[in-house]
């Protein structure tokens, strides 16, 4: 599981792109693409290799204040774990 002090960044092969057609974000990588829901896109936009997982959760809490903090944290950690498992995140720190 990704650590609270880890600093995730998108893997070199992955790129976020706003999609005019759907109005959402796509995560593009070789031969594939993922259509992201708004929360997933917000999380990945914060994965800049500088912010920690804790920092990402704090930032999201400001944006999505109505969600209980423990639940939001769990959602973020689960999502980042899944992205790392797919090789779409680099995790340092």
């Amino acid at each position: 599981m990704i650590a609270p002090e880890a600093r995730p960044a998108l893997a070199a092969k992955a790129r976020l792109r706003f999609d005019q057609t759907s109005g959402g974000y796509l995560l593009l990588y070789p031969e594939r693409g993922l259509a992201l829901n708004p929360t997933a896109a917000s999380i990945l936009k914060l994965c800049d290799g500088e912010r920690t997982v804790d920092g990402i959760v704090e930032q999201l809490q400001r944006e999505y204040g109505e969600r209980p903090a423990p639940q939001l944290r769990q959602d973020v950690v689960d999502f980042l774990d899944e992205m790392a498992r797919r090789g779409l995140l680099q995790v340092s720190g």
Binding site: A11, K13, T21, L26, L28, Y29, P30, E31, A84, R86
Partner: protein, 365 residues
């Protein structure tokens, strides 16, 4: 039916290539299809494809590096925010040119490696290229590119799939495509020399599966089975005219790499019409889109929305009828043709069979 949104443009910049691979995916008569689009023409194709919804472009061929204007196309793809992938043999390429492409915004480099051993690689390619390929793979990583390695598997190298995986790890590939040859075009011509046995395939598949788990999160390992060994065919190109739009070197807008070799289909050329018009309404693009064209048993099969009837080119290669159910499907009335090929592979001794190398001498069917 109305045309769905394509996501990927396959830009076949030229059919020219210094290699002569015995399973090349270009048409047998590739030499008849001369390069017809200049850089301005290709940049327009990129823009029109992006307007249509395309978000990824594969620059391929033939060998796309043989186009001296590749740089301007990579720059245009970046300007359009398309994810760009260079699909190359690595021949000819210098480190300087690769650096230039990196600075222009190329996203990913895919290098073909025909085998883990020089003699096996060069025998398939018909040229001594193995060492150059390794250099290109190393340069790609040094320059910060994500690296995909693609190895086409067949009876001559399947037993070395473990060595291919080890080589990919040593080269720090981000993705390894272990794609069995599909028996179309040049590979169909060479099928007796290439088709593996069921036992060979099964051993390789389990080695690849173990590597996929072991390398999860570090290197993506993809193993593609030959259609000749499946129960039900995969959705060829994700379905005809659904996700992929292919433009050939001579400007034909196609649903797949070989559709223009099917008789009686009219595809239209991007020199005469826009990508959007041809995608939506060229007669060839409409021919096998959706389900109306399907014969039985596809028409009433619950898998018809999963595999879209399989591969039209495979149906044509094996039965002479592009509208037949893909004979790779166990439910096809022509499935015995595929079973016979498998039986042939199991009876053939492992000694070397002569290859027909890719050549510009036009083959007539």
């Amino acid at each position: 039916m109305s045309a769905p949104r394509p996501y990927t443009l396959v830009a076949e910049l030229t059919y020219a290539c210094q290699l002569r691979c015995v399973y090349c995916s270009n048409p047998l008569a590739f030499a008849r299809h001369k390069d017809a689009l200049d850089a301005a023409g290709w940049r327009r194709v990129l823009r029109e494809a992006e307007e249509l919804g395309v978000v990824q472009v594969n620059f391929t061929g033939g060998e796309p590096l043989l186009r001296p204007d590749l740089e301007s196309l990579v720059a245009e793809a970046r300007r359009l925010d398309l994810y760009s992938n260079l699909i190359t043999s690595g021949v000819p390429l210098t480190r300087d040119r690769l650096l230039r492409l990196r600075r222009l915004g190329l996203d990913n480099v895919q290098v073909s490696i025909q085998d883990a051993r020089p003699d096996g690689c060069d025998r398939i390619a018909g040229e001594e290229v193995f060492e150059q390929k390794l250099r290109v793979a190393r340069w790609a990583k040094e320059l910060g590119f994500p690296l995909t390695l693609n190895t086409v598997l067949h009876r001559g190298n399947l037993d070395r799939v473990g060595e291919v995986i080890a080589l990919a790890e040593e080269l720090h590939a981000d993705r390894l495509e272990l794609a069995n040859a599909q028996y179309l075009g040049w590979a169909f011509l060479n099928q007796p020399a290439l088709l593996p046995t069921a036992a060979q395939l099964e051993r390789a598949r389990s080695i690849a599966a173990a590597a996929r788990s072991r390398l999860e999160g570090r290197m993506e390992v993809v193993f593609v089975v030959p259609d000749y060994y499946v129960e039900f065919p995969p959705a060829c190109m994700d379905g005809w005219g659904r996700r992929f739009v292919v433009v050939s070197p001579d400007g034909l807008l196609l649903p797949c790499l070989l559709a223009h070799t099917l008789p009686g289909l009219e595809f239209g050329n991007v020199r005469d019409s826009s990508v959007g018009e041809l995608w939506a309404s060229s007669p060839g693009m409409s021919a096998f889109r959706g389900e109306e064209w399907m014969p039985e048993p596809c028409r009433s099969c619950e898998r018809r929305a999963v595999d879209f009837g399989g591969c039209r080119c495979q149906a044509f290669h094996l039965t002479g009828d592009a509208a037949a159910t893909d004979p790779a499907c166990s439910l096809s009335r022509d499935h015995a043709l595929v079973e016979a090929a498998r039986t042939g592979a199991s009876r053939r001794s492992s000694e070397l069979v002569d290859f027909t190398y890719r050549t510009s001498a036009v083959h007539a069917r």
